[in-house]
């Protein structure tokens, strides 16, 4: 068997057999599943019917609030002092107090409650009152009720992007932002976690003093690349396990709790309906909401998921190779992990710059900063991943990938030169000057 394959095999097997790998493989998906499942669960817990008492001194709004599954409105005697006393005794969620005003309807009200009131409920109360007041004013001015109806329209805004080829693409900015950002973060995390594993592996071989035995059999470059590739495979394995077990957990969850979820979804839809209605008072939710859903689904269909997956794989591997060889060089230069600090800075800064600027890139994916950061090999794996879902001209992707490949060939060459000298150096903590000398030897 080829010797580099032997090294890859050892690096891979010793790592995937470790307890920490097993724990990460089990705990990771559980955590992520929990992040998805728990909010749904808690939302369900909270969703009992809330009772709100109305103390309306104007007597105008009293019966205008309609109750439903989530909120029940009851009219109380118009005595706010008494009502406040009864808030807790009667188990009310809140008391809405609308004070008396002269001539016109009040444009303000008070909401008494023991807990911070739900934002949806607040919006609902405001919109009902606003609707009633507008209706009342229009009536006072003797406007035709038919016109009143016509005035109330909901606007659906469907952003559509025209690409370089002149074709139309449905744009779904939030979704694209989300996908790009999450994938960029995953790349960032994996580079750090598995780059550090490469570094620790090199330090281990050095402090163990096994390295001289091994490089009397294989070239230092083979040992370094074997380790880098072995650890990359560990990272991919972990990733695949996570995706697969997440899929299993979620599908199990959906099949077991499908009834509950259906209910939850309905509730959520209803809440969304209500929010839409709140923003656009007096609109019958049905038809317009379906329109929104249709736009959204179209946009999801328009996003090129296989392209994104391919780009993710390329930038994931390219970024990892670029950085992990530098991590290997650092490991070779020092005797123990505490000495790595001084050399870590120049590696971590561009990575962190990439992640921080991701926020900016999301808002302006085609700006000059986004362009240059997605070309520079040290930031491109993170930044380009943020840009890709928004659609990037193909020539930019090719240029960026070419620069990334060039970048990792360069860092690997550089790292190999530092590595082959560093692994045999003990004792003195090297300076950047020393590293520079090693490159030339």
């Amino acid at each position: 068997m080829n010797k580099i394959l032997l090294i890859i095999k050892r690096e891979y097997l010793t790592r995937v057999r470790k307890k920490s790998f097993l724990i990460m493989s089990v705990v990771g998906p559980l955590l992520m599943a929990a992040i998805i499942i728990l909010p749904a669960y808690f939302a369900k817990l909270e969703s009992g019917q809330k009772v709100i008492g109305i103390v309306d001194e104007t007597n105008y709004f009293k019966y205008k609030f309609t109750s439903d599954e989530s909120v029940k409105f009851i009219a109380l005697d118009p005595d706010i002092v008494q009502a406040k006393k009864e808030l807790i005794n009667k188990g009310l969620y809140a008391i809405l107090y609308i004070p008396m005003t002269k001539n016109v309807l009040p444009t303000y009200a008070y909401l008494y409650s023991t807990k911070e009131p739900n934002i949806i409920i607040k919006g609902r109360i405001k919109s009902v009152m606003q609707k009633e007041i507008v209706g009342w004013i229009l009536q006072e001015k003797k406007v035709d009720p038919g016109i009143i109806k016509e005035l109330q329209q909901k606007i659906t805004l469907a952003p559509i992007k025209i690409n370089d080829a002149g074709e139309e693409e449905k744009s779904m900015v939030e979704l694209k932002m989300g996908i790009g950002y999450v994938l960029a973060l995953v790349i960032y995390m994996f580079i750090f976690i598995f780059g550090a594993q490469v570094m620790r592996g090199v330090i281990e071989e050095k402090t163990n003093r096994i390295v001289e035995i091994i490089i009397s059999s294989v070239k230092p470059f083979q040992l370094m690349m074997g380790k880098i590739i072995g650890v990359a495979l560990v990272g991919l394995t972990q990733f695949v396990i996570w995706i697969a077990s997440m899929a299993i957990i979620l599908s199990l969850f959906f099949s077991i709790f499908s009834g509950d979820i259906e209910q939850y979804k309905n509730q959520k839809l209803k809440i969304q309906d209500e929010q839409l209605v709140l923003q656009n008072p007096d609109i019958a939710a049905g038809g317009d909401f379906n329109k929104t859903v249709a736009v959204l689904t179209d946009a999801i269909d328009a996003i090129n998921f296989s392209g994104i997956a391919l780009a993710f794989l390329i930038y994931f591997l390219g970024g990892y190779l670029l950085y992990s060889s530098l991590f290997a060089a650092i490991g070779a230069a020092v005797d123990n992990e505490t000495d790595t600090q001084q050399f870590m800075l120049p590696i971590t800064v561009p990575l962190i710059v990439g992640v921080i600027s991701a926020q900016f890139v999301m808002n302006n994916p085609d700006g000059p900063l986004s362009f240059w950061l997605s070309m520079f090999p040290f930031t491109s794996p993170v930044v380009m991943m943020v840009r890709i879902p928004f659609g990037v001209p193909l020539w930019q992707v090719f240029l960026s990938v070419a620069l990334l490949i060039g970048g990792f060939i360069f860092t690997t060459w550089l790292a190999a030169r530092i590595y082959r000298t560093g692994i045999l150096m003990y004792g003195k903590k090297p300076s950047y000057r020393d590293l520079w000398k090693w490159i030339h030897w």
């Binding site: 001289e212 490089i215 009397s216 059999s217 003990y426």
Partner: protein, 307 residues
């Protein structure tokens, strides 16, 4: 005597690290089937030379011939190297690790397993096959390292301070194994500071100091060449006054009266028999022996001259 061919022929090898010269035009030949001592103080350049032979480092200039051919990649499988600073993966199992190292030297998994079984039994460490390295004592780890060094039956073995970390019993075991390997046809390069073991084991040696070769040759020949005509004389009974005049052909270097022993240096011109006759005039001699310099003496003398 049969002329031995040289398994290793090093010619004018130099190596610099920046401004520091680690080896300065060093030449030496290692005869096939010999035990060859590589001697020198700390920092003399021994490790650099060993690393060049192992192709861990490349020389800046000069040539290294292995069995008459320039060093090439496939030669690593003919060489076994036990570095001075040696270790194993602590978390890996002993057997698995030995297999890995053997396969890196080009052995097939099957061959490696068979040979390892044999050696593990021979060194009494067979029960440790499935233990992690960190559970082994240092001596046991050294045994495992020794086994992985010799397992692929290399023609040339390089031991850098092999006895450090071994107890006296295991030192003897190791010495026997080294002699066995030589009997089986291997050539052994042996780097050490322990001059007693050099005299015990080595046929040839080279002495390197401050990146230069300062002495090499056959151990016996060099010792003969460095003898100073000093004799150890033991006597019985009383001893009379010994004339030690300026014009006598010898003089007394030292007289240890309670042990009845003299250290006599001849002027190198009179024959040994003549010297004996001269001394017999003054005492009854029970033992008479030429004192050859030890490798230790030669080492210290040459290194100090070279300062």
């Amino acid at each position: 005597m049969v002329l031995m061919s040289n398994i290793l022929e090093i010619t004018e090898v130099s190596k610099k690290f920046g401004d520091f010269t680690a080896l300065n035009s060093v030449s030496l030949s290692v005869p096939e089937g010999s035990i060859f001592g590589l001697l020198g103080p700390n920092g003399a350049g021994k490790t650099t030379l060993i690393r060049i032979i192992n192709q861990i480092l490349l020389p800046d200039s000069g040539t290294v011939l292995f069995q008459g051919k320039p060093l090439a990649k496939n030669h690593v499988e003919e060489i076994g190297y036990l570095p001075e600073e040696r270790g194993l993966y602590r978390k890996m199992k002993v057997g698995e690790q030995a297999l890995y190292l053997a396969q890196l030297k080009g052995l097939s998994e099957k061959d490696a397993k068979e040979r390892l079984k044999y050696w593990f039994k021979r060194f009494d460490i067979a029960p440790w096959w499935d233990k992690k390295v960190e559970e082994l004592s240092k001596g046991m780890q050294q045994k495992v390292q020794f086994i992985t060094t010799v397992l692929h039956q290399p023609k040339l073995l390089i031991f850098d301070e092999p006895f450090s970390g071994f107890d006296p019993i295991n030192v003897n075991l190791l010495k026997d194994e080294i002699l066995n390997l030589r009997k089986a046809g291997a050539t052994i390069i042996f780097s050490t500071h322990n001059m007693a073991s050099v005299e015990e084991l080595c046929d040839h040696f080279v002495l390197i100091n401050r990146s230069n070769k300062i002495l090499d040759g056959n151990v016996q020949t060099v010792k003969e060449a460095y003898k100073e005509n000093i004799y150890i004389v033991e006597y019985e009974g009383k001893i009379g006054a010994i004339p030690d005049a300026e014009n006598a052909p010898y003089h007394i270097l030292k007289h240890v009266e309670n042990e009845k022993r003299l250290l006599v240096k001849s002027d190198g011109e009179i024959a040994t028999n003549q010297l004996l006759k001269e001394l017999m005039k003054h005492m009854t001699i029970t033992s008479f022996q030429e004192k050859l310099p030890s490798m230790n003496d030669i080492f210290i003398q040459k290194v100090q001259e070279n300062k």
